[in-house]
């Protein structure tokens, strides 16, 4: 059971992470151990999340004001300590957001002048709240990994070893973003949300 779910994750993982297919079942016990020891950044989970960040892009409409020019890169910002450990760069290879090339930007703090289009906020509750309020009202898709307190427009949730997400539609509207109904269709029902 667990082996199969890990396998599923494995299949979705980037090429590098996929390891050798033949070794999957040999590695299964290792994953099981990692799985049981809380969310201490097992690389497979972060690989999925890194990929999901890029996959979210086609399902979100940004207002034209979000970009100064068509040639301006799409800024994917990681605020706080980067939890992806290079997996993000790997997932972003060859990716683009429509016409815009994607630039991965790592920031200590979120400020209104960052001009990020997507902002992954990593940190404790307070950091998240601060960052969210900095981005609020700007055309920024905020993504969080919060289990409680303030959450971004998209908030990753682990459900039965699957990475799922919640969507705060109101927050999206505040940030002038239009979320695809398809994305809404597969999003988890919203558990809690705090208006900033």
């Amino acid at each position: 059971m667990r082996c199969s779910s890990i396998l599923r994750l494995l299949l979705l993982a980037p090429r590098r992470v996929r390891i050798a297919r033949t070794g999957i079942c040999v590695l299964a016990p290792l994953f099981a151990i990692l799985d049981s020891s809380s969310a201490a950044a097992p690389s497979l989970e972060w690989a999925v999340k890194a990929e999901y960040l890029f996959k979210l892009v086609p399902f979100i409409d940004w207002p034209e004001s979000a970009f100064a020019s068509p040639a301006q890169p799409f800024r994917l910002c990681v605020v706080g300590d980067d939890p992806f450990d290079g997996l993000l760069d790997e997932a972003g290879q060859g990716q683009s957001a429509g016409q815009h090339p994607i630039a991965i930007v790592r920031l200590k703090n979120a400020t209104p002048d960052d001009h990020c289009q997507l902002m992954y906020i990593a940190g404790d509750q307070q950091f998240v709240t601060q960052s969210l309020s900095a981005a609020s009202g700007f055309p920024v898709l905020t993504v969080t990994d919060a289990q409680s307190g303030d959450k971004g427009i998209v908030n990753f949730v682990n459900v039965q070893n699957h990475v799922r997400f919640e969507i705060d539609q109101q927050a999206a509207l505040r940030n002038h973003l239009n979320v695809s109904s398809k994305l809404l269709g597969i999003a988890l029902p919203q558990t809690a949300g705090h208006a900033p």
């Binding site: 599923r8 299949l11 979705l12 999925v48 999901y52 996959k55 892009v57 086609p58 399902f59 429509g98 699957h162 990475v163 799922r164 997400f165 695809s180 398809k182 994305l183 269709g185 597969i186």
Partner: protein, 611 residues
């Protein structure tokens, strides 16, 4: 021509109809194939659209690995009855989710490369799953091109077309056959009509021929009646003249006339007797034509008769005409009057001579022949059977058709006045007909003439075939004083006869008719001979009178006389056996000879006592 033209056009019509039926069939099949192809293309397009819709719906689920949501979408394909199977593949070609209709095959394990293809009535399409230009994976969809109902409809259409064509062709075939049968029937009827028409025409022609022949024979019969009557009266007159002349001559010897007067008397008497003789010959021919002359038939060998006549003919025809006789061997005998047959041949020879003024050849030919039913049909009284033919042919002037038609009529002649009586062929015609035979003339102007006489064959053997006595003028011997009863209705004829008989030394009683004759005999001694005319006035003819007298006076001799013969004693133109007859006009010596001969016959004559 018409009968041919009709089927020709019909054939064109049928070929056109068959072509039309074939065209209809091909057109129908073509339409169905085109429709099917078109439908397949349409179905492919529809499937691609369906695939795109599915891809669009599945993009988020595929992107974020939400199999539950993905299944919700893909399983909704169950509402589309044509979809057999479907599958979603991720970017790496691995199957993400799939849908399989019950009883259908599995979709491929990995994403196929072809965008769309058709195989085994299935259309299979592969479309990419994209979101805002970003490819997330692929959708595979397999669909039945045609639902079963539609296929049934298609095959049904073909079946209907085929059966319609078959019905058209069948109907054509049936109508063609019906037409052909009607044609045949029509032709048969036309043939029947034609043959009936031909038969009718033949019958009409035969009838016309028969009518013409009948008219001709009726005309000849009428002329015969007339000439017969005239000849009879003439004979009576000639009898008076000849009898008177004879008496005059016999008595003149007792008169003492001067030498010059005697010479003149004899000259005029000779002249008058010669005229009376020629007149008698003429009336004989008239009687022959009217078939009223009494015939004395006997079995005759025509070959022998002709042979015996050759000398006579040579004298008659002269040196410029050669005579050839072609006589058939084994010639049958005929029952006829040899004297009349001689006359007939002589008459024909004389006609031939007159037709050949520059000379020529006369051929007399005999043959056995057979006249069949079809030949005798137009002629009354002529019977089919065996005949002896005697043909007399010349190579003279010949006759045209108009002349031929009248040739047998009495007094019809082409000869210059005074050269012919016009009775020669009439005698031949009447005599041959009276003998139960038939005469036929073939002639063409410039070619000559053939007259064929047909006389019926007889099985009777000739008793004695000797020289035929031709009118012996024997010396008149004195009579032995026998008693003769003369019965004659013409007073002057009777007077002449009585005078002759008295001169001959017979005792003569006379009566004008049958009843007065019987009255005369009442209480009188027996008479030796009854000399009676065949035809009497007052209800009793010569034969009836003779029969009565024979009862009164057994052993009485009978001699008939007549201007012409009637049925009373002449049956079918022939004398009954044992009947003695002297025809008017007769001469003194002829009468004397005949009376003597009859009186000298021994006893009762066979057959004379009957009826």
């Amino acid at each position: 021509m018409k009968r041919k033209a009709f089927p020709y056009f019909t054939n064109i019509f049928y070929v056109a109809a068959i072509l039309a039926a074939c065209f209809l069939l091909l057109f129908g099949i073509g339409t169905i194939i085109y429709g099917t192809r078109n439908y397949a293309a349409q179905a492919t397009q529809d499937t691609i659209i369906q695939g795109r819709i599915l891809a669009s719906a599945e993009s988020a689920a595929l992107a974020f690995d939400d199999k539950k949501a993905a299944h919700e979408y893909i399983d909704s394909l169950a509402f589309s009855p044509n979809v057999e199977s479907a599958a979603i593949y991720d970017n790496r070609g691995n199957q993400f989710v799939r849908y399989i209709r019950a009883g259908s095959g599995m979709p491929p394990a990995r994403a196929p490369r072809q965008a769309a293809y058709i195989a085994k009535d299935r259309v299979r399409i592969v479309v990419p799953v994209t979101e805002q230009g970003r490819t997330l994976g692929t959708v595979y969809l397999e669909r039945d091109i045609e639902p079963a109902s539609r296929r049934f409809l298609r095959f049904g259409l073909i079946a209907i077309l085929v059966s319609m064509s078959a019905i058209i062709l069948g109907t054509l075939a049936i109508s063609q056959r019906a037409l052909a049968m009607a044609n045949t029937e029509l032709e048969r009827r036309a043939g029947e009509l034609s043959s009936a028409n031909t038969e009718l025409r033949v019958q009409i022609e035969e009838r016309e021929k028969a009518e013409a022949a009948l008219r001709q024979s009726q005309k000849m019969e009428a002329i015969g009646q007339l000439t017969g009557g005239v000849a009879h009266d003439f004979n009576n007159l000639l009898q008076i003249i000849a009898g008177s002349l004879g008496s005059l001559r016999r008595r003149s010897s007792r008169w003492n006339l001067g030498a010059e007067a005697t010479r003149d008397f004899d000259r005029f008497l000779d002249s008058a007797e010669e005229g009376a003789k020629r007149a008698a010959a003429l009336t004989r021919q008239l009687l022959a034509f009217s078939r009223r002359q009494p015939l004395e038939p006997e079995p005759v060998d025509a070959n022998r008769l002709v042979a015996q006549m050759t000398n006579l003919l040579a004298r008659t025809l002269g040196e410029t005409i050669s005579i050839e006789t072609v006589l058939a061997s084994g010639l049958w005998r005929v029952l006829t009057d040899p004297h009349q047959l001689e006359s007939a041949v002589l008459n024909l020879a004389v006609n031939a001579r007159d037709a050949m003024p520059e000379g020529g050849k006369l051929t007399i030919e005999t043959a056995n022949t057979y006249l069949d039913e079809s030949y005798v049909a137009p002629f009354e009284q002529l019977k089919a059977g065996q005949y002896v033919m005697i043909a007399v042919t010349d190579n003279g002037l010949g006759m045209d058709t108009a002349t031929l038609a009248q040739a047998f009529e009495p007094f019809f002649t082409t000869k210059a006045g005074g050269h012919g009586t016009g009775l020669g062929l009439s005698q031949v015609y009447g005599f041959i007909k009276q003998s139960g035979g038939h005469t036929k003339i073939y002639s063409e102007p410039g070619q000559g003439t053939t007259v064929k006489m047909y006389l019926p064959r007889t099985q009777v053997e000739p008793a004695v075939l000797g020289e035929h006595p031709i009118a012996h003028e024997t010396a008149v011997a004195a009579a032995g004083g026998q008693t003769i009863l003369v019965v004659e209705d013409e007073d002057k004829v009777r007077a002449a006869s009585v005078e002759m008989l008295e001169e001959l030394g017979y005792l003569v009683f006379e009566a004008a008719d049958g009843s007065s004759a019987l009255k005369l005999l009442d209480g009188r001694p027996a008479i030796d001979l009854l000399f009676t005319d065949v035809v009497l006035r007052g209800g009793m003819n010569g034969k009836e009178l003779a029969d009565q007298i024979r009862r009164l006076v057994p052993g009485v001799k009978i001699l008939y006389t007549t201007g012409y013969a009637r049925n009373a004693i002449v049956h079918h133109g022939r004398l009954d056996p044992g009947v003695e007859l002297i025809t008017k006009p007769f001469s003194y010596s002829q009468l004397a000879t005949k009376i003597r001969a009859v009186l000298e016959q021994p006893g009762e004559m066979p057959g004379a006592s009957s009826g």
